[in-house]
Every structure is written in structure tokens, then in C-alpha cells.
């Protein structure tokens, strides 16, 4: 069979201030008609750039420096702007990554999908509307007749992604580029949407070029998997073979780092320990703007955090887990219920006492890019809590910053660097160092490793476990990622719609889940389902 898409020796460079940086180097691969090929790699590996080069939508400073992209026998590298317009959408569809930013906020959903049909002359007017209704129905959007006239802000993330899939498939393209199509969504939504996408492309005979950072997801969904590292494809093979017998050293490292339900736990076995934090009957109600109604974000939540232990709260977006974290940090007041920290109720604290309390509880947030001041050198950021709480003089604080950097395995010389000079993993280490500056007893980690690539994620988790052993820290670990939670937790609470639906030790929750919701969450993890079974024991209690 002749390949639908053949990439030959493709190289892409980005022009930076001083020189050209090669992002993709001599990449060759092919996709047969109807086939699904996944390209897996970490951020910066060049996988998205490769995809963008195929339909020639590279950022303004990027250009193809060599090679060919043969689509249906035509070299797209040489195609004119007009020819590319005709191919995009009609021959090559795109499902982008972030459903929140990829729809025009001022246009109705229906009009945006219809536009794809109109610009390629597939259908206009009433015929286009009928086709859009059919597409909305196909991608699983209920009540399409009403939805067609709505704007993006009236859609949830999952619904938006469905609309984007409808848009990408509107003209029945021969190839669909899906660039991390579900990484911004909750796991249960992720699974449903991928199922839908798989079914639709199979029906239409559309080949899929799947870009993902998730090796398990790639193996589960693709026929062929290519692993990219530093702009090159290091390994290509059938999905099952790559997982079973990775040949390249990098693929093996990647596989080893993937937190899975079968991963060895970092945490030590449970011993009796006194409770540092006791939360009882916690409830938080927010007024919904403009309606006079109220939203109960957290309801009847009770749990305890023993000293030196990690307690995790897992749940999907909107489950109330981050609100719970904010209440515990004293950033927000509870509507009712109590949080006792070392025997003292937070609700009764005055301003000065709250200030003192904050020394003992420190946060690490999800986004290492946003949580550091871009104008502060790293050392200054780390020493800032010391300055705020008037600990030591300038020289002592500088020394403390150097020691903290070493504690998180960064060279002390890094203190003078600015955040933009650091990688994501290094920044998160800096954020952890800052959290440790005041020698807190409790660290609240709100999705602290979610934005990191798997290899980096594994290193940070190890660091956290090490620091816990060394300093006797207690962690409240907030995450949507059950596999990561299993690696680090002593106790786990599953939250849904503001309530804790299931609690237990990590083993209880993962090996013997009692609630349907917990089972659904476990099953939705790529690699845990029936088709993605990997070596080692399986986590979920059902098939």
C-alpha cells in the first residue's frame, strides 16, 4: 500500500535572537491510509513541530530547512499558500490541544464548524447546517439543534473538544492531526472522547497522526508508535512491541518513569503517628455571580493528616480538591466545619496568629512558570519567605538560599539565574526550595507535578519522598493523576462534587475500589484498560 503521508528527512529550525535552533532533525516516517500513528515525546522533543510542519502551520519564526512532506504524492513543502489553504481542512484536519483557546469566542459553534464546509465548497446554507447537526450528533454532543447556536463559553471543556473534533473531521479529511487532543481534559472525559475519535476515524477511513506525551495512551490508541527525543525519532515500531521490548535507551527510561498503577511505591509503610491536621465537616459555599444562587464547592469533608505522612486528595476538575487545599492553607475561610492544625482551630486565629500559622504550612502550586516572579533571581525568590517573616539578615538569608538549593539537588550557583533560564523541572525544584525555606511542618502540593514531563515528574516525586524522610514533612497532595497518587500516598481520599466518596490506604483504593466512581477513574487511566494491558500486575479491580 502506498503511504498517505510520507515524511522524508524533515528538518525544522527556529530563528532565535542570535542563531537558528534546530527543533526537528532528519525525521522520516510514514502513515498508511486509515492507519493511526502516534509520535511520543516530552515537551521540546519536536513532536508538535513535526506535526505543524506537515500542514505548514509553524510559528512565524520557524521554517522547514530540509526534506519533503509527501501527502497523497504531493510535496507540501513546495506547495503555495493558496494550495495549502485548499488542503488544510479538506485533506488534512486538525484537532488541537487546548479546547479552551482554540475556538473563536465571538462565533457560534455551528458557524465555526460550517465555515470548514463553506471555505471548501462542500456545503453552504441549509445543507451546511444539516451537515453540522449531523456532525455534532456524531461526536456525541446532545441536543445539537440547541447547541449549534451557542457560543464557546456556553460549552464545557469536553464539549468544546468534541466540537473541535467535529470541525477537524467536517470535510472527511484523509488525514487527521490530533495534537495532544485530550491532555487538557479530565481522565474520564479523556477516555470517552478518544473512544469517539477512534470510532469516527475508523468509520471515515481517516488516518490519524497522534501527538502525545503519554506513552501508555499512544500504545493503547495507535498502530505504530514513534518515540521522539531532542528532534529525532529514536525508535519506531508496532505499539505492542515498543512497550514490550523497548530497544532504545531513552524509550526504556521513558517507560520506567511512567507512573503506573503497578509502580513501586515511594512512600514507606504506614506506622502510627499523631495527627498534625484534623479536618472535620468542612464546607465551603460560593455565591454564583449574578444569579443569587450558591455553589457548594466543598461539603462535609473530614480527614486527617498524620505527621510525616502523605495524604492525597484525587478528583477531576470541579471536584473541590483545590478549594480544600486553599482552605487548609488559610487562603480562604470555610463556611462551616473546622480545620485544626496541631490542635488549634484555624477559624479562631487573628491576623498575627494566621501569619505565624503560614510559616508552618507552605504551598507548591501546579504551574512552575507562573508561580515564580520572572524578575526575581532564583535565590531572591527562595529567600523571600524568610524576608517576609523577618528571619535572619541578608547574608544569612543568602546562605540559607544556597543550602535550600542544594537540598533540592540544584547547584548553589543557580541562585543568580532568572526563572526563564531554567527548565520546568528546575523551576519546580526552586518552588519546592522556597516552600521549605521556613522549615514548615506541612507542605500542600496542589497538582505540583502535573505540568511536568514524566522523567522530570519521577525525579521530583523522588525528591519529595526523600525530603519527607529527611525532614519529617507532612504532605497534602492534590492531584487528578491516580497513578502519581499511588506512588506517593499513605492515605487517599477520592473527591467528587465537593464530597469525599471513598477513603482508604493507597492499596485499598487502587486494588479494591468500592465505589463505581473510583473504578471509573481507575479504568480511564491509559494503559489500565483492557486494550492497554502492560507487563506487571494490573491496578483496577475489574477488567
Amino acid at each position: 500500500m502506498t503511504p498517505l503521508l510520507e515524511i522524508r528527512d524533515l528538518s525544522v529550525a527556529f530563528r532565535t535572537r542570535r542563531r537558528d535552533v534546530t527543533a526537528v532533525e532528519n525525521v522520516s516516517m510514514e502513515i498508511l491510509p486509515g492507519q493511526t500513528v502516534a509520535v511520543v515525546g516530552e515537551s521540546g522533543s519536536g513532536k508538535s513541530t513535526t506535526a505543524a510542519a506537515v500542514n505548514r502551520l509553524l510559528p512565524a519564526n520557524g521554517r522547514i530547512t530540509g526534506g519533503q512532506v509527501l501527502f497523497d504524492g504531493r510535496d507540501l513543502v513546495k506547495a503555495s499558500a493558496r494550495e495549502m489553504s485548499a488542503i488544510r481542512g479538506a485533506g488534512i484536519g486538525l484537532v488541537p490541544q487546548d479546547p479552551m483557546s482554540n475556538l473563536n469566542p465571538l462565533m457560534r459553534i455551528g458557524d465555526q464548524i460550517a465555515e470548514a464546509l463553506e471555505v471548501h465548497g462542500v456545503a453552504t446554507g441549509k445543507a451546511a447546517r444539516a451537515r453540522v447537526l449531523e456532525l455534532l450528533n456524531l461526536v456525541g454532543i446532545p441536543d445539537p439543534a440547541r447547541r449549534i447556536g451557542q457560543y464557546p463559553h456556553e460549552f464545557s471543556g469536553g464539549m468544546r473538544q468534541r466540537a473541535l473534533i467535529a470541525m477537524g473531521l467536517a470535510c472527511r479529511p484523509k488525514l487527521l492531526i490530533a495534537d495532544e487532543p485530550t491532555s487538557a481534559l479530565d481522565v474520564t472525559v479523556q477516555r470517552r472522547i478518544l473512544d469517539q475519535l477512534e470510532q469516527l476515524t475508523a468509520e471515515m477511513g481517516t488516518a490519524v497522526f497522534l501527538i502525545t506525551h503519554d506513552l501508555a495512551l499512544a500504545a493503547e490508541r495507535a498502530d505504530v508508535v514513534a518515540v521522539m527525543h531532542q528532534g529525532r525519532i529514536v525508535e519506531t515500531g508496532k505499539a505492542g512491541e515498543i512497550l514490550a521490548e523497548p530497544e532504545h535507551e531513552y524509550t526504556r527510561r521513558l517507560l520506567g518513569a511512567v507512573p503506573s498503577l503497578s509502580s513501586v511505591r515511594v512512600a514507606e509503610p504506614e506506622r502510627a503517628a499523631e495527627d498534625l491536621v484534623v479536618v472535620e465537616g468542612l464546607r465551603k459555599v460560593f455565591p454564583i455571580r449574578g444569579t443569587g444562587e450558591e455553589l457548594t464547592a466543598v461539603d462535609a469533608v473530614s480527614f486527617a493528616i498524620p505527621r510525616g505522612r502523605t495524604v492525597s486528595i484525587v478528583g477531576e476538575s470541579g471536584s473541590g480538591k483545590s478549594t480544600t487545599a486553599n482552605l487548609l492553607l488559610g487562603l480562604d475561610g470555610a463556611t462551616s466545619g473546622s480545620i485544626r492544625f496541631d490542635g488549634t482551630d484555624l477559624a479562631g486565629l487573628g491576623r498575627r496568629e494566621l501569619f505565624a500559622f503560614r510559616r508552618r504550612v507552605q504551598p507548591v502550586f501546579q504551574n512552575p512558570y507562573a508561580s515564580l516572579d520572572p524578575r526575581y533571581p532564583v535565590g531572591k525568590s527562595i529567600a523571600e519567605p524568610l524576608r517576609v517573616h523577618r528571619v535572619g539578615g541578608a547574608a544569612e538569608r543568602k546562605k540559607a538560599a544556597a543550602e535550600l538549593l542544594e537540598k533540592v539537588s540544584l547547584p548553589a550557583s543557580m541562585a543568580d539565574r532568572l526563572p526563564h533560564e531554567l527548565s520546568g523541572g528546575q523551576r519546580q525544584r526552586v518552588a519546592i526550595a522556597r516552600a521549605l525555606a521556613l522549615s514548615p511542618e506541612l507542605v500542600v502540593l496542589d497538582e505540583a507535578v502535573s505540568a511536568l514531563d514524566v522523567l522530570v515528574q519521577a525525579q521530583i516525586l523522588e525528591l519529595l519522598a526523600e525530603l519527607q524522610r529527611e525532614l519529617g514533612l507532612s504532605y497534602l497532595f492534590i492531584s487528578h493523576d491516580l497513578a502519581v497518587v499511588r506512588m506517593i500516598s499513605h492515605a487517599v481520599h477520592v473527591m467528587r462534587n465537593g464530597r469525599i466518596v471513598e477513603s482508604g490506604t493507597a492499596e485499598d483504593i487502587f486494588d479494591h475500589p468500592e465505589q463505581d466512581y473510583t473504578r471509573e477513574l481507575l479504568a480511564a487511566i491509559p494503559g489500565a484498560g483492557p486494550s492497554g494491558e502492560r507487563g506487571g500486575e494490573r491496578g483496577g479491580g475489574q477488567g
Binding site: I87, S101, N104
Partner: protein, 316 residues
């Protein structure tokens, strides 16, 4: 709830303007009597002066003056201009439409210059066309209106014999053609000045929107470049452009004094200026309040436009 807040802040703003203009006018030395009589005012006997003060209502307490003026305004009595022998309401009914016409023409010209040039400048940053946009906007911002106005006036009158503003002013109803000829130069001067901020706003907004994900997605769907720029980019850039336009429009309603004076356009700015020269308190106070009200209304209109442009504003 929202509407009530809106009305309350509007009333509060207008009341503040009223207090401010009332106090400031009285802080200026001299009054209507001295301004009207000039040096002869010194020759007034105390009795004459008292009679005049009584006539103008200047003998009453400031408190009474303030509230009787406000109360009268609410009943439609804006006061009387002794100098022009006309009620302020009549004066305003003649001058306000002229100013509004001038403002609308200026804004239209400014948009016609600013938006296309802004889009052009954004289409290729740091290119010749971007530089052209920068030059135009810098000129618009830095050349003072009085200089441009007098230059245009002398060049057109001396070299081309085009001087429609030399004859008596014709309203749109009197003689539309003459009116438009008389409006041309002042609108051009004002429009050029306002085109600059609009150009800059357009350029920035277009650049920002162009790098949005949804624009790339639209491109990936096969939308041709021209349609992409108009439907996806310009549409989303409109909100800041409308904001800037609304601000400038409000400013034009009161701020065109110099240009109106140079081109002898009997607008509301000129009415205030004459009032200040003559210290006719009623004229200045009432006219300024009308201008403030117009400003507030333009702001309301701008907000209403957001709702038309952006469905998210409608929802919240």
C-alpha cells in the same frame, strides 16, 4: 441591580461635575458684572452694583445659587445668556448638534485612517509598512491641533482659494453641501489627531489576536487569509478598538474648543469658551453639565456595543 448601580454612579458623576464647575467658576476673580462692563465697572455706585447683583442672583448664598440652578435645570430651565439674549437651552440646542456632527465626522475619518493602517502595520511588524504606521501615529500624536488647523487653513485658502469657513456657518439643514465643505477641514484636523491612538490600539490588538490558538485552528480548517483577517482577527480585536473610539468620541464632545474657534464652527466648545470669557455662570455651568451627560451617554453606548460584539459580555 446592575442598572440601578449604573444610574446611581451616573447621577453621582454628574453631581460631582456640577459641584466642581460651580466652585471653579467662582474661584476665578471677577464676575459677570465686571466682565460685562470692563473698566467701567469701577464707576458703579454701590446701589447700582447691588441692583445688578440682585438681577443676576449673585446676592444669594452660594448654597441657594447652586441648588436653584440645579433645580431649574431639572425643569428644563438652563438659565439665560444676557450677552446673547437667548436662553442657554436654545443656545445648546443649536450648538450641540453641530458638535455632534463634527465629532461623528472626525471619528469616521479617524477610523478610516487608523484601522486599515493599524492592520497594515500589524500584518508585517518591523517592515516598511509598520514604520509608515508609526510615523503617521507619531505625527498625529505630536502635531498640535492648532498648528495643523492654521496650516491647513492658510494653505487651502491661499493656494487653492478653498475657504468655506470664511462665510457664515450653515447647518446641515440650511445647506448640506456648504455645511459639509465647512466641516471638512475641522473634521480632518480632529480625525488625524484621533487616528493615532486608534491606529496604535488596532495594531496591538491585531497582533495579540493573531497569535491566538483559534486563529491557527481557523487556518488549519482552510480559511483563506483575507477572510481569516476580517472574520477571526479583526472581530476579536474590535473590543479594544471600540473602547478607544468611545473614549475619543467623548473627548471630542467637549474638547474641540480650539478647532471650533479656528474654523468658526459654532459648536458647544465655543459656547463654553464665550461663556467663560463673559463669566456667564449659567452658560458655563449648564453647558458643561450637558457635555458631561453626553460623555456618560457615549460611555453607556460603548458598553452596549460590547454586548453586540462579544457574546460573553451578554451572558454575564
Amino acid at each position: 441591580m446592575r442598572l440601578r448601580n449604573r444610574i446611581l454612579t451616573t447621577v453621582g458623576t454628574l453631581f460631582g461635575v456640577a459641584v466642581l464647575v460651580f466652585v471653579m467658576l467662582r474661584a476665578i476673580p471677577g464676575d459677570q458684572i465686571t466682565a460685562g462692563l470692563g473698566t467701567e465697572a469701577a464707576a458703579l455706585t454701590p446701589a447700582q452694583r447691588q441692583a445688578l447683583e440682585q438681577y443676576y442672583g449673585l446676592d444669594q448664598s452660594l448654597f441657594t445659587q447652586f441648588f436653584s440652578w440645579l433645580g431649574n435645570m431639572l425643569t428644563g430651565n438652563f438659565g439665560y445668556s444676557a450677552r446673547q439674549q437667548q436662553s442657554v437651552l436654545d443656545l445648546t440646542l443649536h450648538s450641540l448638534p453641530v458638535t455632534i456632527e463634527l465629532a461623528v465626522l472626525s471619528i469616521v475619518l479617524a477610523l478610516l485612517i487608523g484601522v486599515p493602517l493599524g492592520m497594515l502595520a500589524a500584518s508585517r511588524t518591523n517592515s516598511a509598512r509598520d514604520a509608515l504606521g508609526q510615523v503617521v501615529s507619531l505625527a498625529g500624536l505630536s502635531v498640535p491641533a492648532f498648528l495643523l488647523a492654521t496650516t491647513l487653513l492658510s494653505v487651502f485658502a491661499a493656494s487653492f482659494g478653498f475657504n468655506p469657513n470664511g462665510q457664515g456657518f450653515a447647518t446641515l439643514a440650511d445647506d448640506p453641501l456648504l455645511n459639509l465643505r465647512q466641516m471638512l477641514l475641522p473634521a480632518l484636523v480632529l480625525g488625524f489627531g484621533i487616528a493615532a491612538p486608534i491606529l496604535r490600539t488596532t495594531r496591538t490588538a491585531v497582533l495579540e489576536v493573531r497569535s491566538e490558538d483559534f486563529v491557527r485552528t481557523a487556518r488549519a480548517k482552510g480559511v483563506p487569509e483575507r477572510r481569516l483577517q476580517v472574520r477571526h482577527v479583526l472581530g476579536n480585536a474590535l473590543v479594544p478598538i471600540v473602547t478607544m473610539t468611545g473614549l475619543q468620541f467623548g473627548y471630542l464632545l467637549g474638547g474641540a474648543v480650539v478647532v471650533e474657534q479656528i474654523f468658526s464652527v459654532p459648536g458647544i466648545g465655543r459656547q463654553v469658551l464665550l461663556g467663560i470669557q463673559q463669566k456667564e455662570y449659567a452658560v458655563v455651568q449648564s453647558t458643561v453639565l450637558v457635555i458631561a451627560l453626553a460623555f456618560v451617554l457615549v460611555n453607556l453606548l460603548t458598553d452596549a456595543l460590547y454586548r453586540v460584539i462579544d457574546p460573553r459580555v451578554r451572558a454575564s
